[in-house]
């Protein structure tokens, strides 16, 4: 692949491209479903969709690539001072980004419903009017996928940038363009090949994994801040001696150091779960508090979602009633 493998980055890109692929295929399906008797229009609208996707992809690559480049050079300068405190800050940023994205993606189902609804309306209007005098309606099918892919792509770039900085791999290369294509292909294949249900469950599973990674990053950020503080007290060779602040230490193991090159297994646990062979009251509490905040956020999201759905269904009910009335 040309770059060091990072599990969080892999999953982020997979998620984003799959999401984009879903949107595109949904649009294609609708168009096919709705435009039944006008083959030329059908072909043109399909073209719109694909062009929109392409433009969105290119723009997002340009913007995102520039962003990552700047971000990396900034981080490189900062890393020269080799302070734990920057490691910690970047881990924290990555943690927040992944958490926000994962939780947002939980709502993807709702979002899909919303898009379906919107698209359905747009299709109805286009169908009824038949003439494409309405510019926005005419190009709706170009603009919508373009914006969608653009948004998805930029999100992915930002998250990848943020997450990759938190890794100690300064030689991380931008995921190549062909890798994007590769991921897009995977996303498409998953969508087409798997059922909607399986896809939904895949998203949930990857949300779980990403949250675990983010929780680990939070603990690691706290650890970095603590090591920075201890290093300043002890005078610099704390890291070499493998020493830690004994006050507030909760466990310190002779084994399981993820930084040792031969401890491949433990390094894996470190990147997925944030495992460290030295833990303090700070890191343990931070880890538990992270999950508490995530739990509360999800519960809050559920409550809000239920309220919105209740309001929407009332609205729909009212509409249907109105339609019935008019029909009658």
């Amino acid at each position: 692949m040309g770059s060091l493998f990072s599990l969080p980055v892999f999953f982020i890109i997979l998620r984003e491209t799959t999401e984009a692929a879903i949107i595109v295929s949904v649009l294609l399906a609708f168009v096919k479903q709705v435009i039944v008797d006008d083959a030329a229009l059908l072909r043109r609208l399909k073209w719109h969709i694909w062009i929109g996707v392409l433009i969105g992809l290119v723009i997002s690559l340009i913007i995102g690539g520039t962003f990552i480049g700047l971000w990396k050079s900034l981080a490189k300068n900062v890393f020269q001072s080799s302070e734990e405190i920057w490691e910690g800050t970047f881990a924290l940023i990555a943690c927040i980004m992944i958490t926000v994205m994962s939780l947002a993606m939980l709502k993807s189902q709702e979002l899909q419903e919303k898009w379906r609804g919107k698209l359905g309306e747009a299709m109805q209007n286009a169908n009824e009017k038949r003439s494409v005098r309405n510019l926005s309606a005419k190009y709706a099918l170009l603009i919508l996928p373009m914006i969608t892919v653009l948004r998805e792509g930029l999100e992915a770039m930002i998250f990848v940038g943020g997450v990759s900085i938190s890794c100690r791999f300064l030689s991380f290369n931008l995921v190549q363009a062909d890798e994007w294509f590769f991921f897009a292909l995977i996303g498409f294949v998953i969508y087409r090949g798997g059922s909607r249900l399986a896809l939904h469950r895949f998203f949930i599973a990857s949300t779980c994994l990403l949250l675990l990674i983010a929780a680990g990053l939070f603990a690691k950020a706290i650890n970095a801040y603590e090591m920075d503080k201890w290093g300043k007290i002890v005078g610099g060779d704390a890291d070499d001696a493998g020493s830690y602040d004994p006050r507030g230490n909760v466990w310190a193991l002779n084994y399981g150091d993820p930084n040792q090159p031969e401890n491949g297994g433990w390094a894996f646990f470190n990147s997925i779960l944030g495992w460290m062979h030295v833990a303090s009251v700070g890191t343990i509490t931070g880890y538990c508090v992270y999950w508490l905040v995530v739990i509360l956020t999800i519960v809050f999201m559920k409550i809000k979602g239920n309220r919105a759905r209740a309001a929407a269904s009332q609205h729909t009910y009212a509409n249907e009633k109105a339609v019935e009335k008019t029909e009658i």
Partner: protein, 588 residues
């Protein structure tokens, strides 16, 4: 050996009956203000209001008497480094090993028969008082010296700190020093000065006695424009060995013969370079290269400075004692591995075989004398005194592994030992016999030996001196960090040979220190209340760790469960839609 040394001493006494004298020193241990390096005046420990303390000069066969009055505010004691103290262990000096320390204001008289000759020194042996200045040369002249020379000079080399040792010790042993970095001295001194001068007369032969009284520093010694021959090491006369330079670790001594030049046209520098490898950092203002001057004529110019950073390799195991002593197969072998690590009190401590030395509640010598038959049972001395019990006249071998990146000089009280082996790496007794034996009919002998980093040394001696003898690294910081063991030699013979003066017991009572019984001051083997040292960290999960781990696992599982709970409704929704779509398809 005890018999032969005693008979030798008796012979010497008989031969010099007219000259054998009682040489008395009256020493009030006092605080003095001094500024030996001219950079910083500070409080030091001196004698009779003076610093440096007086040099002790005695002759083989004399009896040395030191009447000590402790006039500082801390308990103190004195150790005559290198003196055998045959049958005289109660005057050896290390606090809580052979005596209770001398209380402030109290008297203590050291009475020491002089049974050997050579270059020695005397220093405080309670806490690190010798670092604060309580140290000086102890020269024992032979009635008939092996080598002929016209005059002699003493070069007492030492490192010097500007801060009192208790303050530095607290920082050294704190939890904020996990790497165990030793305090770095501010300067090096010769005879407690930076500007020493020694007069040489052309054509004369001089004996130079070099003593290293440092807490930490190792010196390389060499003289511009003059050849040196080593003739004595740690009180043992050796066959002449020409050298251009040699190293002296803390507590070691050498004598060299130097022939003065034929003319008085130039003066020359004497070099005592401190080895930077001993220091954690070398601050730019620290002058590693200490110098003195050999003066032929006040007006003569100084010869070009021959200071160098490259020293001729020097192996003290190649020195051949003038009085031969063949080695014998050891009756007991003690492998000891020296290491440093952070222990479970979170301070960086030194260990021998994972045990750090902690002083017992009762001086170890008194335990040996008051526990009857149990005195041969190592348990009675407490685990943390790290007792090594040997029988009278056994041959004892100690193999010292230095499992530390630093170089360590190890010193045995009450004996000289033969250097019978050297090797690199760490010797594990389970792997078979020791591989590094030097096959020599007359091995080199001394009382303080350097074991370089990641190397090992085998030493041997005959247990002919009933008593309790401390074996320890002579870097003072490391001794305080616990790099020591106690040799319990011939406890079955001790009561018939050693008698404790009642005043010593009075001093114990004055300080509230128990003076009878085992390491905890109890009868028998009941060690409840003994001084316990820190132990190595477990390096595994403790109860605290397991609880924490369980909490993290529970939080993660709850979090994931919440995600799945959230998604279940959508999941059901989609299932329904998919089923519906299927039905619709089937209908069509």
């Amino acid at each position: 050996m005890l018999a032969s040394i005693k008979s030798l001493a008796l012979l010497a006494l008989a031969a010099t009956a007219a000259q054998a004298a009682v040489v008395t020193y009256d020493w009030n241990i006092t605080y003095v203000n001094a500024n030996p390096d001219g950079l910083h005046e500070r409080r030091v420990i001196g004698v009779n209001g003076q610093f440096p303390i007086p040099t002790i000069n005695v002759t083989l066969g004399d009896t040395l008497v030191i009447n000590v009055i402790n006039q500082i505010d801390q308990p103190t004691s004195l150790h005559s480094h290198g003196l055998f103290q045959t049958g005289n262990a109660q005057f050896d000096g290390p606090s809580m090993v052979t005596q209770c320390p001398i209380p402030p204001g109290a008297n203590f008289t050291y009475t020491i028969p002089i049974e050997q000759h050579g270059t020695y020194w005397i220093h405080g042996h309670n806490r690190g008082q010798y670092v604060d200045g309580l140290r000086g040369p102890l020269i024992i002249h032979n009635t008939n010296e092996t080598y002929k020379y016209d005059e002699e000079y003493t070069f007492a080399l030492a490192d010097w700190y500007h801060t009192e040792h208790e303050i530095m010790l607290e920082q050294y042993l704190s939890i904020f020093n996990p790497s165990g970095a030793e305090p770095v001295p501010e300067s090096g001194l010769i005879n407690q000065r930076t500007d020493t001068k020694f007069n040489f007369v052309p054509g004369k032969t001089y004996r130079l006695r070099i003593i290293n009284m440092s807490a930490l520093a190792m010196f390389h010694f060499y003289i511009d424009g003059h050849d040196m021959e080593i003739i004595e090491v740690d009180g043992i006369d050796v066959e002449r060995k020409p050298v251009t330079s040699f190293y002296v670790t803390a507590a070691q001594r050498y004598s060299v013969l130097v022939k003065a030049r034929a003319d008085a046209s130039q003066n020359f520098l004497v070099h005592a370079d401190m080895d930077p490898a001993m220091f954690d950092v070398v601050p730019p203002e620290l002058q590693l290269k200490v110098q003195g001057t050999i003066v032929y004529s006040e007006s003569a110019p100084l010869a070009p400075n021959g200071v160098t950073d490259e020293y001729e390799p020097f192996n003290d195991a190649l020195l051949v004692p003038v009085v031969p002593e063949a080695t014998q197969k050891p009756d007991q072998i003690f492998p000891l591995t020296a290491a440093f690590s952070v222990l479970n009190d979170y301070s960086n401590k030194a260990t021998f075989n994972d045990i750090t030395y902690v002083m017992p509640k009762v001086p170890t010598l008194y335990t040996a004398l008051t526990t009857g038959n149990l005195s041969s049972n190592p348990e009675v001395y407490g685990k943390y005194a790290h007792p090594m019990v040997v029988k009278h006249n056994e041959w004892v071998e100690i193999i010292i592994n230095n499992d530390d990146p630093g170089n360590h000089p190890f010193h045995l009280h009450g004996h000289v030992f033969q250097i019978v082996g050297r090797s690199t790496g760490k010797y594990d007794p389970a792997s078979g016999p020791y591989p590094g034996y030097i096959d020599s009919p007359n091995p080199s002998r001394r009382d303080t030996v350097l074991v370089p980093s990641e190397e090992n040394v085998a030493i041997r001696f005959k247990a002919n001196n009933p008593g309790v003898w401390l074996f320890h690294c002579h870097i003072e910081w490391h001794l305080q960090a616990g790099l020591a063991t106690t040799l319990i030699e011939a406890p079955e013979v001790m009561p018939s040979v050693l008698k404790i003066d009642p005043t010593h017991i009075e001093h114990c009572k004055a300080l509230g220190i128990p003076y009878r019984g085992n390491a905890a001051g109890n009868e028998g083997l009941n060690l409840d209340g003994a001084n316990i040292g820190p132990d190595p960290l477990p390096g595994t999960f403790t109860a605290k760790g397991i609880v924490a781990l369980v909490f993290t696992i529970i939080s993660a599982l709850l979090g994931l469960a919440t995600v799945i709970w959230y998604a279940r409704e959508d999941d059901a929704h989609i299932s329904a839609q998919v089923a519906q779509a299927k039905n619709t398809e089937e209908e069509h």
